[in-house]
Symmetry: C2
Subunit: 379 residues, 2 copies
C-alpha cells in the first residue's frame, strides 16, 4: 500500500502584504500555511489556514510557532533569529537560513560580508559611536546607516558635509561613501536546496526627485549587455556565497562610471518583485513556494515588459482609508491593481501597488504616470 | 468631514474551487468575503474573512447568512432561491438575480427561456413522466435531461433508440434532439448593473472520445469570422434577456451545418473560464469582483493563446490524494498549476487544472497532452 504524503505545514513570520501575496499564490498548491503576527487584522491574517497572534521578535513565541512545522519563511528580517537557529538544528527547514538573516539584519555584518567575498560595494567605515563618526569627517559625503533596527528608511542619514554630522547615529553603524548613482536596479534571484538558481530580469527604479520615494519600477531595466552580465554575475555571487536556499532581492547601483555596486540584499520576497505576479510566468511568490515545497524552479521570463507603481499613503492623511481614483484606474487597460487590505493609511505607508503590462515603453510610462497621480489613499 | 466608505461585505454560496479562486482574486481589492458551505474543509474555507458552516439549500440558513451582507454571489446553482428572493427584496444585491437562477436551475424552464427569446437551441419536448417519454420515441435520437436536480453529468441520458427508453427519467424532463456536433464552445460574458457587457474570446472544448470527459479547452476557439459573430450575438442575447448583472458561461454547439445552438448557460464563474486567470488581462474571477464592487469592466483580451486541462480523479482511485507527476509537470515551461486542496480524490472528481500559455498551437497541444498523461491524482 502506498502512503499518501502528508500536506506540508509551512510557517510565515509576519503577516503584511508580502504574506498576503504569498498566500494568494499558495492556494495553487497542496500546502497548509501558518502565519505568526501580532496584528490580528494584518493583510495576511484571513488567508492562512492557521493564524497565530504573537510577536515574531520573541524567542519562545517563534520557537513554539515553528516546532511542529516542516519549514518556515519570513516576510520581514526583523524576527527572532535565535529561535530559528534552534528550529533549524531540530530539523525545520528555514528559508533563508538563519545565518543569512543574522548577516543581513546587521548592516555592518552585511557590508563586511560583501567585502570578504570580493563583492563590489561602496567604500565604508564602521563607526561605533558619535566620536568615531566625527573622526571620519573627511570621509563625507557619505550615508550613515545604523547597524541594527533600521527599517523602511529609518536608521539612514545622508551626511553631505561636517554640518550634517549631528544627524548621525551614536550607535554601531556603517558609514558608506556616497555613490554618484546613474541607475538604481534590483535583481531577484531564486536558489533552491540543490543550489540551482533562476534569475529574473533586473528592474530599474525610477525615484521621485522631490519626495525621494520609489515611484515606478521598470522591467526589464535598460542596461547594456555588458552591465547586465555584470549585474547578474554580482547578484549570483551575493546569493551563492550565502549557502542558503531562498529568494533574494539584490539592490545595486550602477554608478556614473558604469561600475556596479551592491547596496543591500533582502533575503525574501520583495517590493521589487511585485510586477512578477502578472508580468512573468512564475511570480516571486510562486517561486518561493516552489523552493519550499521542493518543486522545480519556475520560469522567470517576462510575458510582457511592465511598470510597477507603489501606492503610498499621502502626506497629511492618517486614518481609515478610502481610495480616491480607484474606479478611474481600474478603467486603464492592462493595469493590475493590488490593494493590501490595510484599514488605516498614514503618510508613506505602502497601501498597495499597480502593475501595468505593455510592449510599448511610452504606453507604460504614460499609464503609470497617470495612475500615480490618480490613485490616492485618503482618510 | 469626508466619511470613509465602509468595506463591502460580500457573500459566496458554496466553497468549492470556484470560491477558492474567487477568494484568491478578492485579495486584490478592499472587500470582506463571507463563505457559506457545509464542508468546513472545503477548498475555499480558509481563504474567506468569515466562514459559516451551513446548508446553501436551506432557506433559514441562506437568509440568515445574507441578511447583513451588501451582496451575494454563487459558485453553484443548487442554492435556496427563495431565500435569495427575500434578500433581494430587502435590498441585498444578488449576482445573478434570483429570477435567473430559478430559470436556469430547471432545465425545462431554461429551454423554454431560449425558445421564448428566439435563441437558437436544439429542438425539444417536455416529458412529465416515463409514459410521455415512451410516446416520444419517434423523436429519438435525443438527450433526456431531468428538469431539477441534475448536476455534474448526473440527470442526463443519451437515448439513441427505443431500446434506450428505459434509461430515461420518470420525472419532469426535457427531451432534446441530438445535435450532430461539429464543435462545442463556451462564451463567457460579463454584464454589469448598468447593462454594459464584456465578452471573452470563446473557448473550444476538446473531449476525450472514450471517457466523454472534458480534457482540453483551447482559447481562442478556432471559428470562422462569421461563426464567431454568430456566437457572440447569441451569447449576448442569452445574457441581456436575463436582465441581471453577473458573469455567464454560455455553452454552445456548432453543428455540422455551421449553425450555432445554445446548449446550456451557467450564471456564474465557470470551468470554461479558468484559463483567464493567467491568459487574460482580467480573469473571470477578477471580472466578477469588478461587477459586484461597482468597478469598471475588466479587459477580456488574451495575453497569449492558451489551453486548459482539467485534472480529474482517476478511475479506481478513491481516498487521500497525492499527485503523481506533479514535479514533472511543474518543469513545463509556461504551465500554471492549480490544485484545489481537496483532501480526497474519487473517480471523475475535479481536483485541479493546468493552464498552458503559448503563441504556438502545436506547443500548446503537445504540452497539454503530456500534462494530461503525467499529472494524475492518486490515492
Amino acid at each position: 500500500m502506498k502512503v499518501s504524503p502528508k500536506i506540508p505545514q509551512i510557517g510565515i513570520l509576519g503577516g503584511g502584504q508580502l504574506g498576503r501575496m504569498l498566500l494568494q499564490a499558495a492556494a495553487n498548491y497542496p500546502v497548509h500555511v501558518h502565519v505568526l503576527e501580532n496584528d490580528t487584522e494584518c493583510p495576511a491574517a484571513h488567508l492562512s489556514q492557521v493564524f497565530t497572534k504573537g510577536d515574531i521578535r520573541d524567542f519562545e513565541t517563534v520557537y513554539n510557532f515553528g516546532k511542529n512545522l516542516d519549514a518556515i519563511t519570513i516576510e520581514i528580517e526583523n524576527v527572532n533569529v535565535e529561535a530559528l537557529e534552534k528550529l533549524e538544528i531540530e530539523g525545520v527547514r528555514i528559508f533563508p537560513r538563519p545565518a543569512v538573516l543574522r548577516t543581513i539584519k546587521n548592516k555592518i555584518l552585511q557590508k563586511e560580508y560583501y567585502r570578504s567575498h570580493q563583492i563590489p560595494t561602496a567604500e565604508f567605515l564602521v563607526t561605533e559611536n558619535r566620536r568615531d563618526l566625527e573622526e571620519a569627517a573627511d570621509f563625507l559625503p557619505a550615508v550613515h546607516k545604523i547597524g541594527e533596527g533600521g527599517y523602511d528608511g529609518k536608521g539612514v542619514q545622508l551626511l553631505y558635509g561636517k554640518e550634517d554630522l549631528g544627524k548621525g547615529f551614536d550607535a554601531p553603524s556603517v558609514l558608506e561613501k556616497m555613490v554618484p548613482v546613474h541607475k538604481e536596479i534590483a535583481q531577484m534571484v531564486a536558489i533552491n536546496e540543490k543550489g540551482e538558481t533562476a534569475l529574473y530580469p533586473p528592474v530599474e527604479m525610477l525615484f521621485d526627485p522631490e519626495l525621494n520615494l520609489l515611484d515606478y519600477q521598470l522591467c526589464p531595466a535598460e542596461l547594456s549587455t555588458q552591465t547586465l552580465s555584470r549585474v547578474e554575475a554580482i547578484a549570483l555571487s551575493v546569493v551563492k556565497n550565502f549557502n542558503s536556499p531562498g529568494i533574494f532581492a539584490v539592490e545595486m547601483f550602477v554608478d556614473k562610471n558604469g561600475d556596479v555596486l551592491v547596496n543591500e540584499t533582502a533575503p525574501r520576497v520583495h517590493n521589487s518583485g511585485h510586477h512578477t505576479i502578472e508580468a512573468h510566468f512564475s511570480s516571486q511568490f510562486d517561486m518561493l513556494w516552489r523552493l519550499i515545497l521542493g518543486y522545480p524552479l519556475g520560469n522567470t521570463e517576462a510575458i510582457l515588459p511592465s511598470i510597477m507603481i507603489n501606492i503610498i499613503g499621502a502626506e497629511g492623511c492618517s486614518g481609515d482609508v478610502y481610495y480616491e481614483g480607484l474606479e478611474e484606474v481600474l478603467k486603464t487597460s492592462n493595469a493590475f491593481v493590488h490593494l493590501y487590505g490595510k484599514k488605516q493609511t498614514k503618510p508613506g505607508r505602502k497601501m498597495g501597488h499597480v502593475t501595468v503590462l505593455s510592449a510599448d515603453k511610452q504606453d507604460l510610462l504614460h499609464k503609470s504616470n497617470r495612475i500615480r497621480k490618480t490613485l490616492l489613499p485618503k482618510a
